[in-house]
């Protein structure tokens, strides 16, 4: 590569980092707590993209970077590599998800019913400018129902499979360290399904939306209908040294199934991520639905969308262009000057030729 080692920037580099941090100001545990409490959906997005679930660490990363999301995710991904892996939990099954929200745009009367849960889907988007004038904002309290909602529901696709609307998948039975893991193996193509879905789970939300949206607008082969969208908490099923299994706590997860008519049955795409992030899951599931048979180099082809939605790699490649490229650029200038000189020489010699 045509990079060149340079000297003379050490002080400037040190001072530039100081300037960044000085302009942002100091932060402490209290700031981290405020970020965690006030921005739960941003925390979820960062945890999903970092593929590291801990609200304190995500809030710390946001506080430390001033909300520069790519830097925050990079900090968390880097920190993750310093930690030992204690166990691989048992795979989460659909009917063990503690469900807060479960809706379907495909079927009105899904078993278990439509439960909206926490959402702004039907809210008026009005900025609360009164707050800037000193008014407080206190949300209206929920009026609880007399009976609790059933916490556990199977997936909508399981019900459809019972009704012969789509193929019932056979669980693969892979568990523990046998499950393919992108953090320990390279992504190769054609990609293993476990790699594809893991990569989408930790993908950058905006990238997934951009490519998923391209498919939704018509650059894909299948138009998605949301079969099931679910926000839930999942149990972390770990194993005691004596062999007993137990839940070591819950984490927020979101998932989406999207379907499209495919012959006599429905085609289905699936995606899930850590934290609650509906846009990412619907977009990722749309890419999954469209990927079989997609044209090479199209937005819905797996190599294209997996490489281009990996946020740490793509943002890292983008910002590397800020690094000194003096030699490559000098080489380009030399080539331009050379071409210009040759052209001038050519035109001079043609001027000197005698007229016929």
């Amino acid at each position: 590569m045509a990079y060149v080692a340079t000297r003379g920037g050490e002080r400037a580099i040190e001072q530039s980092e100081r300037l960044f941090r000085e302009e942002m100001g100091g932060f402490d545990r209290q700031r981290v707590e405020e970020v965690k409490k006030s921005l739960p959906y941003l925390i979820d997005r960062v945890m999903g993209e970092a593929s590291l679930y801990d609200e304190d660490l995500a809030a710390l990363a946001l506080a430390q970077t001033g909300g520069e999301l790519y830097e925050a995710v990079l900090l968390l991904r880097a920190w993750r590599t310093t930690q030992p892996r204690l166990q691989v939990a048992e795979p989460i099954e659909q009917d063990t998800l503690f469900t807060h929200r479960r809706i379907s745009a495909a079927f009105k009367d899904i078993p278990g019913g439509q439960v909206l849960g926490p959402t702004l889907d039907y809210a008026h988007r009005i900025l609360a400018t009164d707050v800037l004038q000193g008014e407080g904002y206190a949300p209206e309290p929920v009026e609880p129902a007399a009976n609790p909602s059933p916490a556990y529901q199977p997936s909508v696709s399981a019900w459809q499979a019972e009704n012969d609307l789509l193929e019932q998948p056979t669980p693969d039975g892979t568990t523990g360290n046998d499950i393919p893991d992108l953090t320990r193996e390279p992504l190769l193509f054609p990609s293993k399904r476990a790699h594809t879905l893991q990569s989408l789970a930790r993908a950058e939300t905006g990238g997934v939306l951009a490519l998923g949206y391209a498919a939704m607008r018509g650059y894909g082969q299948a138009h998605p209908t949301v079969n099931e969208l679910r926000l839930a908490e999942a149990e972390i099923a770990v194993t005691h040294p004596d062999g007993r299994q137990f839940s070591a706590g819950r984490v927020k997860v979101s998932q989406a199934e999207v379907v499209d008519k495919k012959g006599e049955k429905l085609g289905i795409g699936y995606a899930a991520t850590l934290g609650w992030n509906e846009v990412k899951c619907i977009s990722a599931a749309t890419l999954d639905l469209n990927s079989p048979g997609a044209e090479k180099g199209s937005a819905t082809e797996e190599e294209f969308f997996l490489y281009h939605t990996e946020g740490v790699e793509s943002s890292g490649f983008c910002i590397h262009f800020k690094l000194p490229h003096y030699v490559t650029f000098q080489s380009s200038l030399d080539a331009m000057r050379d071409a210009k000189a040759k052209k001038a020489e050519q035109s001079k010699s043609s001027d000197m030729e005698p007229a016929e």
């Binding site: 929200r101 609880p144 007399a146 909602s149 790699h195 879905l197 972390i236 137990f246 839940s247």
Partner: protein, 135 residues
């Protein structure tokens, strides 16, 4: 799934630590095999093809202790080595018949508190159920 361990893993951390502290004297000398934080990889099964894949890792605290042949184990979310050790102490106490009825009473009270919190949440969720009519 073991409900007692599941309850201890989600029990109120301050109450768990306070209760576990009362067990230390009676447990006597114990060997600490592990007291550390680290990551647990969390897979989920995809509903389209039935494949298990990794969602990402969760920060956990783990404690593993031993007294004679009996083992105590604690694992909880987040970085709190005292809380995971407290869980392991309660687990070891029950495995070695130390104040078992107190341990069970503590777990029952915590299980009830967790259930009440879940019920309260799910009643609020139920308020968002759509009773759809078409016309």
């Amino acid at each position: 799934m073991d409900d007692t361990l599941g309850t201890l893993a989600r029990a109120d951390e301050a109450k768990l630590k306070t209760f576990a502290e009362t067990l230390i004297h009676e447990l006597g000398e114990i060997e600490v095999l592990k007291s550390q934080s680290g990551l647990v990889m969390l897979p989920i099964r995809d509903t389209a093809k039935g494949v298990a894949f990794h969602l990402g890792e969760v920060l956990m605290s783990e404690a593993h202790i031993r007294k004679g042949d009996a083992e105590g184990y604690g694992m909880r979310r987040g970085h709190d080595l005292e809380a995971s050790m407290a869980m392991a102490l309660v687990d070891l106490a029950m495995a070695t018949n130390v104040r078992v009825s107190d341990c069970k009473a503590f777990c029952d009270a915590q299980a009830e508190a967790l259930q009440n919190a879940d019920d309260d949440l799910l009643r609020r969720v139920e308020a968002t159920r759509v009773n759809m009519e078409t016309f």
